[in-house]
Amino acid sequence: MSEFKALDGTGAVAEAMRQINPDVVAAYPITPQTAIVQTFSEFVADGLVDTEFITVESEHSAMSACVGASAAGARVMTATSSAGLAFMWEILYVAASNRLPIVMTNVNRALSAPINIHCDHSDSMGARDAGWIHLFCENAQEAYDTVIQAVRIAEHPDVLLPVMVLFDGFITSHAEERVEIFDDAKVKAFVGEYKPKHSLLDLDHPVTYGPLDFTDYYFEHKRQQVEAMRHAQKVILDVADEFAKTFGRKYGLFETYRLDDAEVAIVVSSSTAGTARAAVDKLRAQGAKVGLLKPRVFRPFPAQEMVAALQHLKAVGVMDRAISFGSMSNAGPLFLELAAAMKIYDAGVPMADFVFGLGGRDIVPSQIEGVFRSLLQIAETGRVSELVSYVGVRE
């Protein structure tokens, strides 16, 4: 039987990790992720899990220990945020390139400087080309559900890629919510036992991970990673289907809200999607045909599927919680990628980018209503006067 508990995002993820009972967790504390591994370390100390918990001196070491343990055939998990993710940088690529199915929660937090511990998406967006699967979550329940699914996605033989589970620092990580915690045995059965094909500890079948790979083979191994990413989309959907059958909640590549008959829509991920849903309802009550698309899977980017869901619109606004400095119009990464997809697949819909919430700056329903009003104006005139604007910044 499921139980309903009052948990914040970190507590929900720690519960999922307790139920998954990974072989190894190597982690270093960093706000706002700390509560995940702190809570989990209590489970270790209390004997509720069999996990080998490795306390390390840095995030670079945390991910390195995860790489070693995963290559040894262990089911491995960790968590980080912001500068911690940045410090893992080199080893993020090693994990993905060595095809190690590590599951890591990254609680999205701004990068220094100036130093800031609050939410934006600069950290994981910076790591978007490292070869990890990126799954964004709106709330604590989604974080819990997604961590459970992430294990299955990462370890699928057609994928074997590490997965980042992402949600908003403090907003989701530290706000208490009603979270459904499934029966331990059901989660255990769902994630199953990890049976690695190649393990460093399998002495009868010795294997080398991560050897020198020069001009003659490196390119082929990168091409293999592309293939794994291609397979990942189907595996993500298959795992979501099985999750829905087992636990009742449905997940896809993204979620739409009042989008089918909308004329304009906002594309925004994570906790802000919840705020946007309230703005949609308010404007719908006033007769405005507005809708929402909440991306869940950012890597692999579901370009064609998103275009198919958005191409009937008269204007699309992307809300980015990060800036790709120096890119086209200094836009955000989500906008840049979606705008490219909309052009490539001939959607012909005017688009604009709305950068918001950097360093944890609040975003409130009235501001999202303002974004919708800008989009309704674009729909009416067919003209985009400002390609990128900044919601909530003081001039």
Binding site: V207, E220, Q224
Partner: protein, 110 residues
């Protein structure tokens, strides 16, 4: 012929012990050593100095180069006291990895 991405173990994993013998490091080579056998005195300087053990010797005679592993460093040509080894641009050979033991003659010692 090196394997394509569909036939290689993922992530560069090595699944077989001792398989470095199958790794043709000669594929990196930019310059190929070519020997004029008529002037060679079989002094074995090249055999001593070759860092990749790529000098073929049979019955105390230098018989050619292991071009599958020779990286083309040119040390053999440099140390040869009678200068009977010359380094040639790999492009002259059309990118082939054939065994050559003297100018113009393909198919040397295995």
């Amino acid at each position: 012929m090196a394997k394509g991405w569909k036939d290689l173990p993922i992530g560069g994993m090595i699944l077989e012990a001792g398989n470095s013998a199958q790794y043709n490091t000669g594929a990196w080579r930019a310059f190929r050593p070519v020997r004029d056998a008529s002037r060679c005195t079989n002094c074995m300087f090249c055999w001593v100095f070759c860092p990749d053990s790529s000098i073929r010797v049979k019955d105390e005679k230098m018989v050619g180069f292991d071009l599958l592993h020779c990286k083309g460093c040119g040390i053999c040509a440099n140390v040869c006291p009678v200068k009977c080894i010359e380094m040639h641009d790999e492009a002259e050979f059309g990118g082939s990895m054939e065994m050559v033991d003297e100018p113009g003659r393909a198919g040397g010692a295995k």
